[in-house]
């Protein structure tokens, strides 16, 4: 076909769409003329411009669609007139065929059985609504990421230390690694380093703690995001003293600067030092943020502003790297490059080799990794529910077909063809599908709000969910697919039902078997879903049963960051913290105030290699322990139990012999069977320029990262002695035990801390219990959603089972009447019915448990201390479904047992 002919054909094809949907008689009467006239008018009025032709076509098609809709509504009158004229039957203007089955007729038919209609529509609507909701969420999570350019080329690079077993995969890298990767740029277009940096912004009473990030100059270019205003950082700003510039995120610029268009060049106080605003990022850019990055690295939910990263190779600079690869790079090339770089570092700097390992992954993949199993489980659950709903509605339609078999037989006798009968079912199914689609969209619309509340803290992409046109189109496709699926089964059943079969009514044997099969299928689908839900629920219960190792109730946490310029050395920082702890302890209702970095359950983890006095290790076997700096009040405030020796005291000061308290795991790993007290270790390594730390006490293990991560070797050092970590005691968290019911608010803490230094603004007050809850929020959200899905599935399956049993009882009334007449106990009759229902379900349970056994392995990574084949869960789900089946069958069973045999038998003779 030439392009020109196609151009002419397309408008006609478009116009045919409403025409095809028209009532047949109407179409036969008018279709040819309308189409011919449209062609002529298009040629005469459409002109040459394709815009005019398109506009003309749209107007004509819309008008025709409206006319067709009206024709359906007026259908009856027209059909009678037309059919009468054509067939010559004028008696009452009505021929007993299904020709011209109208939507109106189907609507009336549905309206006569409201319970059936409402059940069917709601069943399908639940399926469609859930599919749409989860589809929207999955779309937001999997497709919409950061608004970055060519995201496939942006890779995250992190430190890889396989010899360190902390249960985490990603470590930060140092300035040395940053420099080498940047300079050996064979595979990369640009490389940038970044780390989180909380700061106190503003001055006077308006100081606030905000989430910032230190980033190297090529950061925005590497990430591939634009600035809405101003310029990115320059290389010369990566130098101490020249770094007093700041770039604002769009949201922060709007909230804090009221979207001031003249903000560029303005001066803001960052940790008390004036900084010049040189840029504002494009909307939506708030990287680095926790969603894309490993949680133990403690990135904020979103970044408010960026500061230049001062390049340094002294001490650990705790960086992550971003690399934008050259286009067309082979997969794996960047990793090879990183391996070569690490080897090179090992050659250049003796001893650095084992610590220079690096790994990479595309940023988006890295971000999705932890979420993907959960989204997959959700989608699987939703698909099961939708399938279940379709099967259920199909069986309802089948029941209805059977109930109308007399009517159908008469229609057939009067000349209706099978196609016409199919049209009855088809139109009804389509109407149910359309109604369910509409209700389902409403459900989805309201469910999105709930989904957002449930998931937003875990998945920032979920914020501001809307039903997109693409999702709406998807929902429509699902609806039509569901309607087609729903219509299909009764149509297949119809195919076999000839006139004789229908007229003899056949006691519904075929229908009964089909219904039984469908009920079995529903139970099986439900069973599979419930096993998955059950496993996740058990896993969550196991998680919640874990002992965190301290008493979180009544603990309040507050984060704060000291400005480095005002607190340049450890002495000044210690002075601040001691004064702040005293001020907090004076707040009424406070029992004990302490400070820790990193705080347990805050997501932060810090580890160090250590030297152990009297031992030597190969480089790769160097012991690694987690360490934290704490105030002596820390153990008392949290309620951590002492096992041996003493705890830390205020007299453990700088200059004195350094001491530390280890946890039980560290004592058992490093000094098995020996007394750990008096042993000495050295943070970092033997060559480090600071002294040995003597172990003076042992405390119980606590959970540091989450309820599901086990305890690892750990040492607590007095914050006043802090030998090594850099920057030490700047970014800390206070944890305060309050008296039960004291109800201390943010303000009390803020005021107390302001008396020490008004330039240091505390962050929000977060109860320790909330911090803990955040560590399992994702699995809780998933479990809640699956429980809702499971409940819906169970409900649908009960409806299906009830329908099948009720139908079977209806068809066997005569048989039961005979039994009762022959002296059978009513209870025995009832029991037979219940047994039939349970047998139907039992087959479904077997199939469903089998399917579950094959599928649950994919849940493995989401489960904690529960096997994917957990016998308990399988047994409980199976038993639950069989009991439910018995319940669903009991009502028809009781009805059967109460039948009066005489009535039933007389009925049978008729």
């Amino acid at each position: 076909m030439t392009p020109d002919r196609r151009r002419r054909a397309l408008p006609v094809r478009i116009l045919r769409i409403p025409l095809l949907l028209a009532p047949r008689a109407w179409r036969e009467e008018n279709g040819g003329e309308i189409e011919a006239t449209f062609r002529e008018r298009l040629a005469a009025e459409g002109g040459e411009g394709s815009g005019r032709r398109a506009w003309f076509t749209v107007r004509e098609t819309a008008d025709l669609a409206w006319v067709v809709a009206k024709a359906w509504l007026r259908g009856d009158r027209r059909r009678r007139a037309v059919a009468g004229r054509r067939s010559g039957i004028h008696a009452d203007g009505r021929r007993w065929t299904m020709r011209g089955t109208s939507v109106q007729q189907a609507l009336r038919s549905l309206g006569r059985r409201p319970v059936y209609t409402v059940t069917a529509v709601l069943t399908l609507a639940v399926g469609i609504g859930m599919t749409t909701t989860v589809g929207t969420v999955a779309d937001a999570v999997l497709v919409d990421g950061l608004p970055i350019d060519d995201p496939g080329r942006v890779h995250l690079v992190w430190g890889h230390l396989p010899q360190v077993d902390l249960g985490v995969e990603e470590f930060q890298v140092g300035g040395v690694q940053h420099r080498y990767v940047r300079e050996q740029a064979r595979t990369t277009e640009s490389v940038a380093a970044f780390r989180p940096q909380r700061v106190n912004l503003g001055s006077g009473d308006a100081v606030a703690r905000v989430e910032g990030a230190r980033v190297s100059a090529p950061f925005f270019r590497t990430l591939g995001v634009a600035l809405a205003r101003g310029r990115p950082f320059r290389v010369e700003e990566e130098v101490e003293g020249s770094d007093r510039v700041v770039i604002l995120s769009d949201h922060f610029w709007r909230e804090r600067f009221q979207a001031d268009p003249d903000v560029l060049g303005a001066t803001v106080a960052v940790d008390g030092v004036p900084h010049e605003v040189v840029g504002v990022a494009a909307p939506g850019v708030d990287f680095p943020r926790g969603a894309e990055l490993p949680s133990h690295l403690r990135f904020p939910d979103r970044t408010d502003l960026w500061l230049p990263l001062v390049h340094t190779e002294r001490g650990p600079s705790l960086l992550l790297l971003l690399a934008r690869t050259r286009s067309g790079l082979a997969p794996g090339a960047l990793q090879e490059h990183l391996d070569a770089t690490a080897a090179r570092i090992g050659e250049d700097i003796p001893g650095y080799g084992p610590w220079a390992g690096m790994r990479e992954a595309p940023l988006q993949e890295k971000a999705l990794g932890p979420v993907r199993p959960a989204v997959g489980a959700l989608l699987a659950g939703v698909v099961l529910v939708l399938l279940l709903a379709c099967v259920n509605v199909a069986s309802m339609l089948l029941t209805r077909m059977h109930a109308r078999s007399d009517e159908m037989a008469v229609r057939t006798a009067m000349g209706a063809r099978r196609r016409d009968l199919a049209a009855v079912v088809g139109v009804e199914a389509l109407l149910l599908g359309a109604g369910a689609g509409a209700v389902g969209l409403l459900l989805a619309w309201s469910a999105l709000g709930a989904a957002e509340r449930l998931l937003a803290s875990q998945l920032p992409a979920v914020r501001g969910l809307t039903l997109e046109p693409a999702t709406l189109a998807g929902a429509l496709a699902v609806t039509l697919g569901a309607a087609a699926a729903v219509g299909l089964i009764p149509l297949l059943a119809l195919r076999g039902a000839g006139l004789h079969g229908a007229l003899r009514r056949a006691r519904g044997g075929g229908t009964r078997r089909s219904l039984g099969g469908l009920a079995t299928l529903q139970v099986a689908l439900c069973c599979t879903l419930l096993v998955g839900t059950g496993l996740l629920t058990r896993s969550l219960m196991e998680t919640l049963r874990q002992d965190v190792g301290f008493d979180p109730e009544g603990l309040a946490t507050v984060a704060l960051t000291l400005p480095e310029l005002s607190y340049p050395d450890l002495e000044s920082r210690v002075r601040y913290h001691q004064a702040a702890l005293a001020a907090l302890a004076d707040v009424p209702g406070v029992v004990e105030a302490s400070v820790a970095t990193p705080l347990p359950m805050s997501g932060g983890q810090e580890a160090t290699t250590i030297a152990v006095e009297g031992r030597s290790y190969a480089s790769e076997e160097t012991p690694v322990v987690e360490y934290s700096l704490v105030s002596p009040s820390f153990f008392g405030a949290l309620g951590i139990e002492r096992v041996a020796g003493r705890l830390l005291v205020d007299d453990d000061r700088r200059g004195d012999a350094m001491v530390g308290v280890v946890n039980r795991s560290m004592a058992e790993v490093l000094w098995p069977g020996r007394d750990p007290l008096g042993q000495r270790i050295k943070v970092s390594g033997e060559a480090a320029p600071w002294g040995w730390v003597e172990v003076v006490g042992v405390v119980e293990d606590i959970r540091r990262v989450s309820l599901t991560a086990g305890a690892t070797p750990e040492i607590y050092l007095p914050f006043a002695q802090s030998p090594y970590p850099s920057p030490p005691m700047l970014d800390v968290q206070y944890v305060v035990r309050t008296r039960t019911g004291a109800g201390l608010g943010q303000e009390a803490f803020r005021e107390a801390l302001a008396t020490v230094d008004p330039g240091v603004a505390p962050g929000a007050l977060v109860p320790m219990e909330d911090l803990i809850a955040r560590t399992y929020a994702r699995s809780r959200a998933l479990t809640v959603v699956l429980l809702v899905l499971g409940a819906a599935a169970l409900g649908v399956a009960v409806v299906g089972l009830y329908g099948a049993v009720a139908f079977s009882v209806e068809g066997r009334r005569r048989e039961m009447g005979v039994r009762l007449a022959l002296g059978a106990e009513p209870s025995a009759v009832a029991l037979r019915v219940v047994r039939g229902g349970v047998a139907t379900a039992a087959l479904g349970v077997v199939v469903g448990l089998g399917a579950a056994a094959l599928l649950t392995r994919f849940l493995g990574s989401l489960l904690f201390q529960v096997s994917p084949l957990d016998p308990m869960t399988f047994a409980v789900v199976g038993a639950l479904l069989l009991l439910t089946a018995a319940g669903a069958a009991s009502s028809p069973a009781l009805r059967a047992a109460r039948e009066d045999p005489a009535t039933v038998l007389r009925e049978g003779e008729r």
């Binding site: 309308i34 006239t37 008018r41 025709l64 006319v67």
Partner: protein, 121 residues
């Protein structure tokens, strides 16, 4: 007769287009479009729906294509006025003329009698 009044503008113009001789469907549309005031330009679907309704109401009927006339297309369906349609058209014109007189009485502005009703009701 009064059952049919008032006519919709579209129906009125269909009757008007058929007043002097039978015309096929597209011809009716063209005659409407050729009116100097182009008072009405119906969409094709609505037009045929109206035509069909008027046919059922007995205002128009399908007729044989006129013999011997230039430009007759024997493949098309031609429509003509029924006697009822003719009377309804006249009655509607009278009704509109009455309305026009009333309006002129209120506004006091004389109008050209020839264009009465051309804008429909």
């Amino acid at each position: 007769m009064d059952d049919h009044l008032p006519l919709t503008p579209l129906s009125f113009h269909i009757l008007l287009a058929l007043a002097d001789r039978p015309v096929h469907g597209y011809g009716i549309i063209k005659r409407m479009q050729e009116r100097p005031d182009r008072a009405i330009d119906p969409r094709t679907g609505s037009f045929y729906a109206a035509l069909r309704r008027m046919s059922e109401d007995g205002l128009v009927e399908e007729v044989d294509p006129p013999e011997g006339e230039a430009g007759v297309d024997r493949r098309r369906r031609y429509y003509g006025l029924t006697p009822v349609g003719m009377r309804v058209l006249a009655a509607e014109a009278e009704r509109l003329a009455g309305l026009a007189r009333e309006v002129r009485g209120v506004l006091g502005t004389p109008g050209a009698p020839g264009v009465v009703g051309s804008r429909g009701s």
